[in-house]
């Protein structure tokens, strides 16, 4: 790895100030699980890292009746996986966290780092987007809250200003009577990034699907809402044929590119397959089948 300077601030204000002073060739490091891979491979070689590890209070998880789950940016995937409050309030989030990489990476990698890396094949973004998560960031101009849809901009690009630090992710409670599911399709080994990630959140009312949010990861620079598929189900009762039509619509509306995880042709088809499967799971949760 190329040599770099490592700064270890003990407060958010100090971190933000360091980022401002060094603007440009500086990067925040949380757990390092993803960033160090890029740096070791030479893809990215900042001359200065600002570590968040000595800043207290960034790894708490708690439930707030207004905002839902508030998950500190330095919370590891493993803590989300095992957290009693996450399991109680949003079990789907704990189940997704359990699918991330392997147990060692989950012990190091953080939710804030994961979202800031903005890898198009990561597991958390599609589910968090389907759940309506918001990212809170603190910088020189104060604190702001950014919907995840507006936070993730492009491959490895977020809406963060150069001196902003993500402090937490807020995930609103599911509307009453909702079900949610996340599935991933890997093409090589269990701990790999998924070729396709599929998340569904369905809001039910008297057996009718009031709203559905269907989000596909791995098919574009940022997770994609399958809005045409969503529209097919609104106000209707779900059936297997309708879910089949939704899956076809979802595959139709995504335009994946060929990459490490499969050709564009293959990913488009798998997007349909996993859209169908994740909707079937969310449906089965309601009917208890």
């Amino acid at each position: 790895m190329r040599r770099f300077e490592l700064l270890m601030p003990t407060s958010l204000d100090e971190a933000s100030r360091l980022l401002r002073e060094r603007e440009g060739d500086v990067k925040l490091i949380a757990g390092g699980a993803s960033l160090l891979i890029l740096m070791k491979s030479g893809v990215y070689q900042p001359s200065c890292l600002v570590s968040l590890q000595r800043i207290p209070g960034l790894a708490d998880v708690h439930f707030d009746p207004g905002e839902g789950l508030r998950i500190g940016a330095l919370t590891t995937h493993r803590v989300i996986e095992r957290s009693p409050v996450v399991r109680e309030r949003l079990p789907v989030l704990s189940e997704m966290a359990r699918m991330v990489a392997n147990v060692r990476i989950r012990n190091t990698g953080t939710i804030g780092g994961n979202l800031c890396q903005a890898d198009s094949h990561a597991d958390p973004p599609p589910l968090l987007l389907a759940l309506g998560a918001r990212v809170r960031a603190k910088g020189g101009k104060g604190t702001r809250t950014i919907p995840l849809e507006e936070f993730l901009l492009d491959y490895y690009q977020t809406a963060l200003q150069p001196d902003e630090v993500v402090t937490e992710v807020a995930v609103p409670p599911l509307p009453a009577g909702s079900t949610a599911a996340y599935l991933r399709h890997t093409v090589r080994s269990a701990e790999d990034f998924p070729c396709i990630g599929a998340a569904a959140v369905v809001e039910w009312q008297d057996g009718i699907c009031r709203q559905v949010r269907l989000v596909l990861g791995g098919v574009a620079a940022v997770p994609q809402r399958a809005r045409q598929a969503e529209a097919l189900a609104r106000g209707r009762s779900l059936t297997e044929p309708l879910i089949g039509q939704m899956a076809e619509a979802a595959a139709e509306e995504v335009e994946p590119i060929s990459d490490f995880y499969g050709s564009a042709w293959y990913k488009k088809r798998m997007a349909g397959v996993f859209a169908r499967r994740v909707l079937l799971v969310a449906w089965a949760q309601r009917t208890g089948r």
Binding site: E5, L6, K40, L49, A101, N102, T108, S189, A190, E191
Partner: protein
């Protein structure tokens, strides 16, 4: 580049070190502390050969900055046995010949130790899931799984 001063516990001993900022935990263990039982495999967190325990939790030492181990407690394969006695997981790996070339073994044993601490009686499926991040290229997985099961009274010779 300003060196980083850190103080941590390695295998029960307090250590104070000054390392260059880019030092990885794996390099610190091998070069600065001469603990060569921790192996480097893939270097990207996939293979598990460099598994060590940080505060009892398995991590890839190849993807942790040494600076981030400051104030933590690190256990390597050298620190697992106590008073000249093998740790029960080490004894089980010997009993079941759960290694061939041995390169993955330190990581396997530390991962298995963490699993059994979290979950004293895992099912075979739980063992397979937890250990899925540790790769054995001699493909000796069955004996590894049996060795872990034997620690819970599951598998018998």
């Amino acid at each position: 580049m300003t060196p980083i001063e850190l103080s941590l516990t390695v295998n029960g001993e307090r250590r104070a070190l000054t390392v260059p900022p880019q030092r990885l935990l794996l390099e610190m263990l091998q070069r600065d502390l001469h603990l060569t039982g921790t192996k480097e495999g893939c270097g990207v967190g996939v293979c598990g050969a460099c598994t060590v325990l940080m505060d009892g939790r398995p991590v890839s030492a190849c993807l942790v900055l040494a600076a981030h181990a400051d104030g933590h407690e690190v256990t390597t394969i050298e620190g697992l046995g106590r008073d000249g006695q093998r740790h029960p997981v080490q004894a089980a790996f010997l009993e079941w010949s759960a290694f061939q070339c041995g390169y993955c073994t330190p990581g396997m044993i530390l991962a298995a130790t963490a699993l059994l601490q979290e979950h004293p009686a895992p099912s075979e499926e739980e063992i397979r899931e937890y250990m899925s991040g540790n790769i054995c290229r001699c493909t000796g997985y069955m004996d590894i799984i049996r060795a872990i099961q034997s620690c819970t009274g599951g598998a018998k010779r």
